[in-house]
């Protein structure tokens, strides 16, 4: 029983140590409209070195990230997201990348956005 208490104690120390590892919350807007956009944006964010967690909100268009600031910067993430076709205020997506998006993801097309808002 003593052993159990000891090991459990050690275990909790490990947990709090991991939990306190350097991580910063970042939030910024990313242009996009649908679930497919969400998947694409999050994948692009997550595959950026130093990004631990990514969640893009379809309604607010806000991307929440938890990153290790020593390894990455907001700019780097935004560049990677732009490369797959999604613009941010700071980094515009290249036109070829935007054109490659699925028809439903064309966030610059007023028709598409209007349809989306209407249905919502």
């Amino acid at each position: 029983m003593k052993k159990l208490v000891l090991i459990s104690g050690l275990f909790l120390i490990v947990i709090s140590a991991t939990a306190q590892k350097k991580s910063t919350k970042i939030e910024f807007e990313v242009a996009g409209v649908c679930v497919m956009c969400k998947e694409r944006i999050e994948k692009a964010a997550l595959t950026t070195k130093g990004v631990k967690y990514a969640n893009w909100n379809i309604q607010t268009h806000m991307l929440s990230l938890i990153v290790d600031e020593r390894k990455t910067s907001t700019k780097k993430v935004q560049q990677n997201i732009a490369a797959v076709g999604h613009s941010t205020k700071e980094v515009e997506a290249p036109i070829e990348a935007y054109n490659n998006l699925d028809p439903c993801c064309k966030y610059n097309d007023e028709e598409v956005v209007k349809d989306h808002n209407k249905n919502e």
């Binding site: 459990s8 275990f11 679930v35 997550l46 631990k52 967690y53 379809i58 309604q59 598409v112 249905n119």
Partner: protein, 745 residues
């Protein structure tokens, strides 16, 4: 603790569509922070007969008319969304999470059982709807419509149903209730009958090695039952059931929300069978007399803001069974030779606490703590044999979830502590013992967010009887092309065999028990160790515009050591360590096809090759059929005002089964080498009147297949040849039942 955060967001974005008269779309869900496509979601136009379900890519195509305005999308375990449609532009819809899981009103056609496309392990899930297909009555009867689990009869006296997976008996399956191991130790033989069916919300069946998180014991697979939860279950639920074979059951659930954080539920089950039935005139009860009272009280705490969740459970059970000759009187004839009879009296108390916490700042990190205590006391006698067992058990585990780098790489790590104290008495011999273990585990999972994922786990345990040992497990998932999934798994399992508790059916015979003491630590025997390997392939298809899938599974279990239960000598039952080889090969193929709009078909063929080196020779395991065929058809009629019919038919063909040798018995007590192949047919009809009320009726074993003279030497039960264990077919012929369900949200 499993943390499952599902956000309620939805969006839909129509785009131009090519065809004029159809609406196309895609349905997704958010689970564990990840968007996944939803396979088999139901999509239909409100107040019409036009409906379909989503394919392997989560896509659907449905007939469109301008007058159709409301599209209903639903899926078991999620919400039911009604979407306004103004044109037939492509729809993308993120299905809202069913906050109220119990709200799964049976108002749509759902796929009630499916093999998960997303999970890495070979998991098939059974929803509460599927459970309703088998009207009765407890966990052991919940697998009747699922081909992954086989149900067999253990003996002609107690009538207990045994489950098997991959050709191996239930002791080799880790059976958990909300991830706490439950049906084990003293409750191995009857434990599945101690969980009423209405308490079960869903069942997950994992074939093969399974996860290291729940321990080292699983060898053939894991079965987890999730119970109904106070927050999401019906406010009031009443179920009554009566069967022609004299069985009556009563279930009621009462759930109450106490505050925005606390809810509680009280679940009461009672069953009774007092009618004496002996249709085969062997002077023995065909089914035991039985009584059970089962009470469960659950408390649920949920604080989503702070990230805390908790469950506290209390359960009390009393179960009594009377078996044997019909004129056996428990008062006068107990332990006498007046008449052969027995009584199995079980009292069980369980309590468990679960606590889970998700870090609000880092939602990918969480920890869980679960602790369970149970006291299981069985007092019983079978003829002149006394068997008493008391099992005190503590199970505790601490679990921490986090990521390595980013959320594509996750890990779970933690500690497990177990204590099992047994007091076991057979006639005058005591087998008291204490087992305890402490162990740590680490499980890593990786998902490339595309076509490949893996789960690799390892645990190290120190056990006072099993020693210090390592348990590795590995699962892989790969999507080679569209609509397909390839899986592979390998893992090791180790356990101490509770030879008497697990083989209690042998007490209903006059076989002499003989345990070969080989200096081991458990009954003088060594621990059981086995490796399990498996591959599985699923291919979805679209035939005549209807969805279907076909699955091929192959698994092999290889025992390093096994406690061989040898009943090849008619008057003896021997337990000894394996000397040589023992393996179980299982091949299964399964076809699921949505034949017509409202008709689902499931076909399965299974082949088992289970062989053990006995002391005498190498033999295939007795009473395990080599071939099995399974068919299930489900039909649901069109709905009008929540009212409809459901029809369900299950057919089983079970190939011939080898009897243990009876060659040295007198000729009248001998069995042939093999028991005949049998056909079994069950059917059920449900009429749903409204979302509140439904009735059902059905028949079990409609073809009236029974085994002639199931008990050897039934006329002389105290003679040396008496044996009720050589059973390959039902004892009781056809029986019909009816029941009702009433629920209030």
């Amino acid at each position: 603790m499993k943390s499952k955060i599902i956000f309620i967001i939805f969006t839909f974005l129509p785009i131009l569509l090519f065809a004029q008269d159809t609406l196309k779309g895609m349905i997704t869900v958010q689970e564990d922070e990840k968007i996944s496509i939803l396979v088999g979601a139901t999509v239909y136009w409100l107040n019409t007969n036009t409906g379909t379900s989503t394919n392997e890519k989560g896509r659907f195509t449905i007939a469109y008319k301008p007058e159709y305005k409301k599209l209903v999308i639903s899926y078991i375990g999620y919400g039911t969304d009604t979407v306004d449609i103004n044109s037939n532009r492509e729809l993308r819809h993120l299905l809202s999470e069913g906050n109220e899981l119990g709200e799964v009103n049976i108002n749509t056609r759902k796929k009630t059982r499916f093999v998960s496309v997303l999970s890495v392990a070979n998991v098939s899930k059974i929803s509460s709807d599927e459970l309703l297909k088998a009207a009765c009555c407890n966990l052991s009867e919940s697998f009747a419509t699922n081909p992954s689990v086989d149900v067999s009869f253990s003996d002609a006296v107690t009538g207990t149903k045994q489950i098997q997976m991959l050709g191996l008996n239930s002791p080799y399956i880790l059976i958990t209730q909300e991830n706490i191991p439950t049906v084990r130790g003293a409750s191995q033989a009857y434990g599945l009958t101690f969980t009423p069916g209405t308490w079960v919300e869903s069942i997950q069946i994992t074939k093969g090695a399974g996860s290291v998180v729940n321990g080292y014991e699983s060898i053939a697979g894991q079965i987890n039952a999730e119970l109904v939860k106070p927050l999401t279950d019906n406010k009031l639920f009443v179920n009554l059931y009566g069967s022609g074979n004299g069985r009556i059951e009563f279930n009621t659930h009462i759930n109450q929300k106490l505050s925005d954080k606390w809810s509680t539920g009280l679940y009461i089950h009672g069953n009774n069978r007092s009618k004496k039935i002996d249709n085969n005139d062997d002077n023995f009860l065909d089914v035991p007399l039985a009584k059970q009272i089962n009470l469960l009280n659950r408390w649920q705490y949920q604080n989503t803001e702070k990230g805390w969740v908790s469950f506290i459970n209390f359960r009390y059970l009393n179960d009594e069974k009377q078996v044997g000759e019909i004129n056996f009187d428990t008062k006068k004839d107990k332990l006498t030779t007046n008449a052969w009879g027995g009584k199995i009296n079980t009292n069980r108390f369980d309590t468990s606490v679960k606590l889970g916490y998700v870090f609000p700042e880092t939602p990918y990190q969480s920890f869980g703590l679960q602790t369970a205590y149970s006291n299981h006391k069985q007092d019983s006698y079978y003829g002149l044999r006394i068997y008493d067992i008391e099992h005190n058990s503590i199970y505790s585990s601490l679990l921490f979830n986090s990521i390595i780098g980013d959320t594509r790489s996750k890990f779970k790590t933690g500690l497990t502590f177990t204590y099992d104290g047994y007091k076991e008495l057979i006639n005058t011999t005591n087998y008291d013992r204490i087992e305890n273990s402490i162990g740590g585990f680490f499980e890593y999972s990786f998902d490339n967010l595309d076509n490949f994922s893996l789960v690799a786990g390892i645990r190290a345990d120190q056990h006072n009887k099993l020693g210090v040992f390592i348990t590795p497990r590995l699962h892989l998932r790969y999507v080679p092309w569209g609509k397909s999934v390839f899986r592979a798994s390998i893992g090791r399992g180790k356990r101490s065999a509770n030879i008497f508790a697990e083989n209690q059916q042998l007490f209903a015979s006059n076989r002499k028990i003989n345990v070969f003491d080989e200096g081991g630590k458990i009954y003088g025997l060594d621990p059981e160790i086995a490796w399990n390997y498996g591959v599985s392939f699923l291919q979805g298809f679209n035939l005549f515009e209807k969805e279907g899938d076909i699955i091929f599974d192959f698994y092999r279990t290889n025992f390093i050591n096994q406690i061989v239960v040898d009943w090849e000598t008619p008057q003896e039952i021997l337990f000894y360590n394996l000397d040589g080889k023992s393996y179980a090969n299982s091949f299964q193929t399964e076809l699921n096809y949505n034949v017509l709009e409202y008709v689902d078909l499931r076909l399965s063929y299974k082949y088992y090759d289970v062989k053990t080196d006995y002391n005498s020779s190498s033999l295939s395991k007795p009473l395990i059929p080599k071939h099995r065929f399974f068919a299930n058809v489900g039909i649901k009629t069109v709905e009008h005002n929540n009212s409809f019919w459901k029809f369900d038919v299950t057919y089983n063909w079970v190939g011939e089964q080898r009897f243990p040798s009876t060659i040295t018995n007198p000729i009248e007590y001998q069995k042939s080498e093999y028991g005949k192949a049998i056909n079994l047919l069950n059917a059920q009809v449900t009429k749903v009147f409204s979302s509140k009320f439904e009735i059902y009726f059905g028949g079990e074993n409609i073809t009236n297949t029974t085994q002639k003279n199931p008990i050897i030497s039934a006329d002389d039960p105290f003679g040396e040849y008496f044996d009720s264990t050589l059973i390959y077919a039902p004892i009781h012929g056809s029986s019909y039942y009816a029941g009702l369900r009433f629920k209030l949200k």
